[in-house]
C-alpha cells in the first residue's frame, strides 16, 4: 500500500489561521479572552489530529523515500525551480508529531499561565505563528523553504523572548537571541549557495541522492558546506560558541521557554543535520567537529547548571547540555540516537519547564496575594530557587511530575531519558570515540547532580518563600496550580515515562518495541549509513574499556541513581540561605556561577570593539565627512549667494553701467 498524505496543507493552514485570528484579536477584542482561549489551542489540536492521521497512514504503508506534496511554485528562474513543496517521510512526520503534540499541551497550559496577562491574544498569535513556521521548517522539501521556517521561528522566538517588552532587559534578551541567530543563519545561507553551485538544485531529495557521486568523500566542498550548515546549527541550537543567547531567552514567558527554547525550535539544528545526513556522512572532518562541539557543549553547560540559582537558568543550561548530546550523536553517525534523544528530551524538558512555570506562577501569586498592588513586587525574584523550598507540601501534583521528569533526564530506568541518553553514550564508545564517551559519561553524572539539586532546593526542606519563619503565611498563600495547568503536566509525565520505550535496545529486550524507532527511521538514514560503510565504517560494538551494551546500560543507570540519591542526601540536610541572605560564591564555584565568563569575554572581545568602531564611524565618517559634505555644500551656496548679493547695490547707475558694458561687449563680439 502506498502512502498518500491526507490534507497536507491543513497541517500548516490551521496554525497560520490561528495566528491570523489571534493577531486580529490583539487589536479588535483585546479584553475578550474567550476567542484566543478557544482558537489558540484548537488550531494546534486540529493540526495535531491531521498529523496523527498521516502518521498512522504512513506507519501502515510501505514508504521508502519520501512523498513530496507540491503546493505551488515559489521561485522559477531558468533551470532553478523552488516550490512550496512539503516533504513527508518518517523523519518529518516524527518531528511533526512532537511539534504539534507537545505544542498542543503547551498551548493548553498557556491558557492557565497567561490568564491574567494583558497581551493574552497577542501571545497566542505569536505562539500559533511559531508553530506554523516550525512546521514549515520541518516539512519544507528544499533548503530555501526550510530556511523560511528557520528564519520564521527565529522571528517568533525574538517576539516571544521580548514579549514583556516594557522591561528593557527582556527586550535586549530578544535582540541578543536574534543577532546571535543571524550569525549562524549567514552560515546556512552560504552553505545553500554552495549546494546550488555543486548540484544545480536546492531540493533535498535530488541533492541527497546525487551527493555521493557529485561530491568527493572528505573533499573541501562537502566539508565547507557541512561546516557552514553546522554554523547555522550552533546558532539555532545554542551550541558553543553561539550558546549565550539561550539562557537570556528565559526572559520570555515560561511556556515559551518550554515550547521554543527546549522542545522544538532549538532542536532544529539537530533536525537539519539529520535531514542532510548524507552530506555529513561524506565529510569525516565535519562529523568530528559536530561531535566534538556537541560533547564539549554538553559538559560545559552541565557544569554551569550546577551553580545557578535561577530555576529557569538551570533548565536553560540543561537544555544546552542535552542538545550537546544530540549533536554528539548525529556527529558520530548515530543519527537515530540523536533523533531519539530529541524526542524524549522534548517530553521531559517541556515537562520540567512547565513544572518550573507552575512553581513560578504559585510563588508569584502567593506574593501578590493580599499585596497592596497585587503584583508581588518587593519580595524578590520568583524565579530564584532560594525563595522556594518545601513546595512538596503545597504543590503535591507538580512535585510528583517534576520528579518524574528529573529521573527521566537523569537517566534512571525505565524512564525515557535512560534509553535515549544511554544509547548516545553507548554509541560514542562503540563507534570508537573513547574521549567523547568519557565526556558523555561525565555529563550524565553532572546532569543527575544538577537536577537533583534543583529538586531539593525547590521542593524539599523548609519553605523560604516568606523567609525562614514564614511557614504559616506560606501555608495560607501557596497553592497548587489549576487543572488546566497540571493536566498537560500529567500527560507529559506519562510521555516522559513511556517515551523511551519506542527504541528499546537490542541488548535489553524488555519490551516488544525493540529498535522500533530505529526501524522507523531506517529509510531516512540508510543512505548516510551506506556512505559511511562504503568508506571504512565498521564499528566493533564494544565500549572503550570492554564490556557490552547491557553491562554499560546497567553501569550508567547505576551512576545516575547513585548521583541522584547522593545529591539528595548531601544537600537535603544543608540549610539554604534565602535570596536576601545569599553570599557570593568564591573560587571555582564562582567561575561556574558566572558561566565561565563567556558573556564577559564576548563583551570585551566583540561587543565593545564593535561599539567603539561604530562610534568612530558615527563621529568621524558620518558626523565628520558625510555631514561635513552636506553642511559644506549648504555653506558654499550661501557664500556664493552673499557674493552675488553684493552686486545688487540698488543704485540705478550701477545697473546702467553694467548694462552698457554688456552692450559694448556684445557689440564687440558681433562686429
Amino acid at each position: 500500500m502506498s502512502f498518500q498524505p491526507v490534507l497536507p496543507w491543513l497541517i500548516l493552514a490551521l496554525p497560520l489561521l490561528g495566528a491570523a485570528v489571534n493577531g486580529a484579536g490583539a487589536f479588535l477584542w483585546r479584553d475578550d479572552k474567550r476567542i484566543p482561549t478557544i482558537v489558540g489551542p484548537a488550531a494546534l489540536l486540529g493540526s495535531f489530529a491531521v498529523v496523527l492521521v498521516n502518521f498512522i497512514a504512513m506507519s501502515g504503508a510501505d514508504l521508502h523515500g519520501a512523498e513530496v506534496v507540491s503546493l505551488w511554485n515559489w521561485i522559477v528562474s531558468g533551470d532553478l525551480r523552488i516550490g512550496v513543496d512539503l516533504q513527508f517521510d518518517q523523519l518529518s512526520m516524527l518531528m511533526c508529531m512532537i511539534v504539534t503534540g507537545v505544542g498542543s499541551l503547551i498551548h493548553i497550559y498557556s491558557v492557565g499561565y497567561m490568564r491574567d496577562d494583558p497581551g493574552y491574544s497577542r501571545y497566542f498569535s505569536y505562539l500559533n505563528l511559531f508553530v506554523f513556521f516550525m512546521l514549515v521548517l520541518v516539512l519544507g522539501a528544499s533548503f530555501p523553504l526550510m530556511f523560511v521556517g528557520w528564519e520564521g521561528v527565529g522571528l517568533c522566538s525574538y517576539l516571544l523572548i521580548g514579549f514583556w517588552y516594557e522591561n528593557r532587559d527582556y527586550a535586549n534578551a530578544g535582540k541578543k537571541a536574534f543577532i546571535m541567530n543571524r550569525i549562524g543563519d549567514a552560515g546556512f545561507l552560504v552553505a545553500m549557495f554552495l549546494v546550488f553551485v555543486a548540484f544545480g538544485t536546492l531540493d533535498f531529495i535530488p541533492v541527497l541522492a546525487a551527493a555521493d557521486g557529485t561530491l568527493a568523500y572528505g573533499g573541501a566542498l562537502v566539508t565547507g558546506i557541512t561546516l557552514l550548515l553546522f554554523l547555522g546549527c550552533t546558532g539555532k541550537s545554542a551550541q558553543i560558541p553561539l550558546h549565550t543567547w539561550l539562557p537570556d531567552a528565559m526572559a520570555g514567558p515560561t511556556p515559551v521557554s518550554a515550547l521554543i527554547h527546549a522542545a522544538t525550535m532549538v532542536t532544529a539544528g539537530v533536525y537539519l543535520i539529520a535531514r542532510t545526513s548524507v552530506l555529513f556522512a561524506l565529510s569525516p572532518v565535519s562529523q568530528g567537529v559536530v561531535a566534538a562541539v556537541g560533547a564539549g557543549t554538553a559538559l560545559f553547560a552541565a557544569s554551569i547548571a550546577i551553580r545557578q540559582y535561577d530555576i529557569k537558568k538551570v533548565l536553560a543550561y540543561s537544555t544546552i547540555s542535552q542538545l550537546g548530546y544530540m549533536f554528539l550523536a548525529v556527529g558520530i553517525g548515530a543519527f537515530t540516537a540523536g533523533v531519539f534523544h530529541l524526542m524524549t528530551h522534548a517530553f521531559f524538558k517541556a515537562l520540567l519547564f512547565l513544572g518550573a512555570g507552575a512553581v513560578i506562577h504559585a510563588v508569584h501569586h502567593a506574593w501578590a496575594h493580599g499585596d497592596e498592588h497585587g503584583d508581588g513586587d518587593g519580595h524578590g525574584d520568583p524565579n530564584d530557587m532560594r525563595n522556594y523550598g518545601g513546595l512538596r507540601k503545597f504543590m503535591p501534583r507538580t512535585f510528583v511530575f517534576m520528579w518524574v521528569a528529573t529521573l527521566a533526564i537523569a537517566g534512571v530506568p525505565p524512564l525515557a531519558g535512560f534509553f535515549s541518553k544511554d544509547e548516545i553514550i553507548w554509541y560514542s564508545g562503540a563507534y570508537g570515540y573513547p574521549i567523547l564517551w568519557g565526556v558523555a559519561l561525565a555529563t550524565a553524572l553532572l546532569t543527575a547532580v544538577y537536577m537533583a539539586r534543583l529538586m531539593v532546593m525547590t521542593f524539599h526542606g523548609g519553605n523560604r518563600t516568606f523567609g525562614h519563619e514564614g511557614a504559616a503565611e506560606a501555608g495560607r498563600k501557596l497553592h497548587e496550580v489549576p487543572a488546566v495547568m497540571w493536566a498537560p503536566l500529567a500527560v507529559l509525565a506519562v510521555l516522559s515515562v513511556v517515551g523511551g520505550w519506542a527504541n528499546i535496545p537490542e541488548a535489553l529486550p524488555l519490551l516488544p518495541t525493540v529498535e522500533w524507532l530505529h526501524h522507523w527511521l531506517e529509510p531516512v538514514f540508510a543512505p548516510a549509513i551506506a556512505v559511511k560503510e562504503a568508506h571504512g565504517f565498521a564499528p566493533e560494538y564494544r565500549s572503550p574499556v570492554g564490556g557490552g551494551e547491557a553491562l554499560w546500560a546497567v553501569i550508567s543507570a547505576a551512576i545516575a541513581i547513585a548521583a541522584v540519591v547522593g545529591t539528595v542526601r548531601v544537600l537535603s540536610p544543608k540549610p539554604v540561605p534565602t535570596e536576601a541572605e545569599a553570599v557570593a560564591p568564591t573560587g571555582f564555584a564562582r567561575v561556574l556561577h558566572d558561566k565561565w565568563y563567556v558573556d564577559e569575554l564576548y563583551d570585551r572581545a566583540i561587543v565593545r570593539p564593535s561599539l567603539a568602531l561604530w562610534r568612530a564611524c558615527w563621529r568621524i565618517v558620518d558626523a565628520g565627512i558625510i555631514d561635513g559634505a552636506v553642511n559644506g555644500a549648504g555653506r558654499a551656496a550661501r557664500l556664493l549667494g552673499w557674493a552675488g548679493g553684493q552686486l545688487q547695490t540698488g543704485r540705478v547707475t550701477t545697473y546702467l553701467v553694467a548694462f552698457m558694458l554688456g552692450a559694448l561687449l556684445v557689440l564687440g563680439v558681433l562686429s
Binding site: G645, Q648, T649, G650, R651, V652, T653, Y655, L656, V657, M660
Partner: protein, 104 residues
C-alpha cells in the same frame, strides 16, 4: 557707403553718434531724474537721426520708422514723467542716488 550717403548724410551720422554719446554719458553720470530722462530722449533722437540718414540710402522705410519711434517715445515720456512726478510728490526729491530699493 560714403558715396551713397553723401557728405550731408555722413555729417548727420556723426551728429547722431555725438548725440548718442552725450545721452549715454548723461544717463550714467547725472543724478537728477529729469536730466537722466532728457538724456534718454537724446539717445532716442540720435537713433532717429541715424535712421533718417540711412533712409537716403535704403529708401523711405527708415523715415516711416522714425514716426513710429516718435509716437512710442511720446507715450514713454508721458509714463516716465508721471513716475517722476509721483516720486517727487512722495519724497520731494528726484535724486536717483536716494532711491536704493532695488536691493536684494
Amino acid at each position: 557707403m560714403a558715396a551713397a550717403l553723401g557728405l550731408n548724410g555722413l555729417i548727420a551720422l556723426f551728429v547722431s553718434a555725438i548725440l548718442f554719446s552725450i545721452g549715454v554719458i548723461g544717463v550714467l553720470l547725472r543724478r537728477n531724474a529729469i536730466i537722466v530722462f532728457m538724456c534718454i530722449e537724446l539717445m532716442l533722437n540720435a537713433a532717429n537721426l541715424s535712421l533718417v540718414a540711412f533712409a537716403r540710402m535704403h529708401g523711405i522705410e527708415g523715415q516711416i520708422f522714425v514716426f513710429f519711434v516718435m509716437a512710442v517715445a511720446a507715450a514713454e515720456a508721458a509714463v516716465g514723467l508721471a513716475i517722476i512726478i509721483a516720486i517727487f510728490r512722495h519724497y520731494e526729491v528726484v535724486d536717483l542716488d536716494r532711491f536704493r530699493l532695488l536691493k536684494w
